[in-house]
Symmetry: C2
Subunit: 210 residues, 2 copies
């Protein structure tokens, strides 16, 4: 498969979400024009994006929703359930453990880890919080590819390294630090303050053009 | 000012963060080569990015850290404190209210709103949770530009409209719904499941190339 532009990849989850909604509403076939109106992007953008994967549309028929949904799910690697662990069971870790859209998108939180004695041993959203010392043993007996990190800055890279050594393949990082990991470990950063700053930029620009 | 590419804008918060760290470590002057080594991007990328804003470097001197930090802060609109409100005081809203990096980046949570009687009236991280009915009155007497939405999907757009009508200029949206708002309202979506899917894609690709 040829290299797909990062911007297209970023749009795939949104396609996946819209196609899921279509299926729920028992819409099994859709033209790129209709899909474009629903999603608020141009029909040519849709055709161009989906062409990156060989294109799944048929002239005069449009897109087969279920097929496209499965294809995009397969590209994203979300057709089978993905187990994940959460490191850091503070407010944010707890919020993520209870976040209904993870489950809906096929991501299943199977364990949480922390070192705080007031949290370790407790159950959050049906998940027991284990001590971080148990991480390696847990990963030996449980096949998990994804770790979500909501940790204090100074321990984040060390814990990420331990995850990688234990077989974790990808890290969703909420800590405000750039991870330094082996190249074969996938990283996706969610820096919430960066999002606020980007928003602040957009507002500032808007005010200047008013 | 000429239009700055979105990709550059997305990188500015990271520059801002690194420059802040430099100032904390009393480093007042830095070459693009040094900065590039710290940030793990090429020196030419740095020069190119900063040139978008007229370029703040001097041949043979490098960058004046404090000046560059102030300039980028001014572009991002974060040199003065920004007040924000949080709509939805569930687990995620509470986590955000306690999120230390918001404060550190100059964002101050001044109010929270919810309709759940078991939460309304309580104080979270020093912030009283008000009933959502009070939103309009609050906005009349408090100058706030930013609203953070952690709401159930079905009420998100309505509440966003009420924010816009009340003078809010930008919305950080955690709800899994695409907002339909007047064009002059800035929107930044944080769809956490999308980030997980993007990560899953990266892992899947990595496994295919192994």
């Amino acid at each position: 498969m040829k290299k797909v532009p990062a911007a297209v990849i970023r749009r795939l989850p949104r396609y996946h979400r819209y196609l899921e909604d279509l299926l729920k509403n028992e819409i099994f076939r859709i033209s790129s024009r209709e899909l474009s109106e629903r999603m608020g992007v141009t029909a040519s953008q849709i055709r161009q994006d989906l062409n990156c994967f060989g294109g799944f549309g048929q002239q005069g028929y449009g897109y087969h929703v279920e097929h496209l949904y499965q294809q995009i799910g397969s590209i994203l690697g979300v057709n089978n359930e993905n187990n994940l662990i959460i490191l850091g069971a503070g407010k944010l870790g707890q919020a993520l453990a209870k976040y209904p859209n993870f489950q809906k998108s096929g991501f299943h939180v199977c364990a949480m880890f922390d070192i705080d004695p007031s949290i370790v041993g407790h159950t959050i959203a049906g998940i027991r919080v284990r001590h971080s010392d148990e991480l390696e043993d847990f990963l030996k007996t449980h096949p998990v590819r994804i770790a979500v990190l909501t940790l204090p800055k100074h321990v984040t890279n060390e814990m990420a390294m331990r995850c990688a050594a234990g077989g974790i393949k990808g890290i969703l990082n909420f800590s405000y630090v750039d991870l330094d990991l082996p190249e074969d470990i996938a990283i996706e950063n969610v820096h919430l303050s960066d999002s606020l700053m980007t928003l602040s930029y957009k507002i500032t620009r808007q005010e200047q053009t008013d």
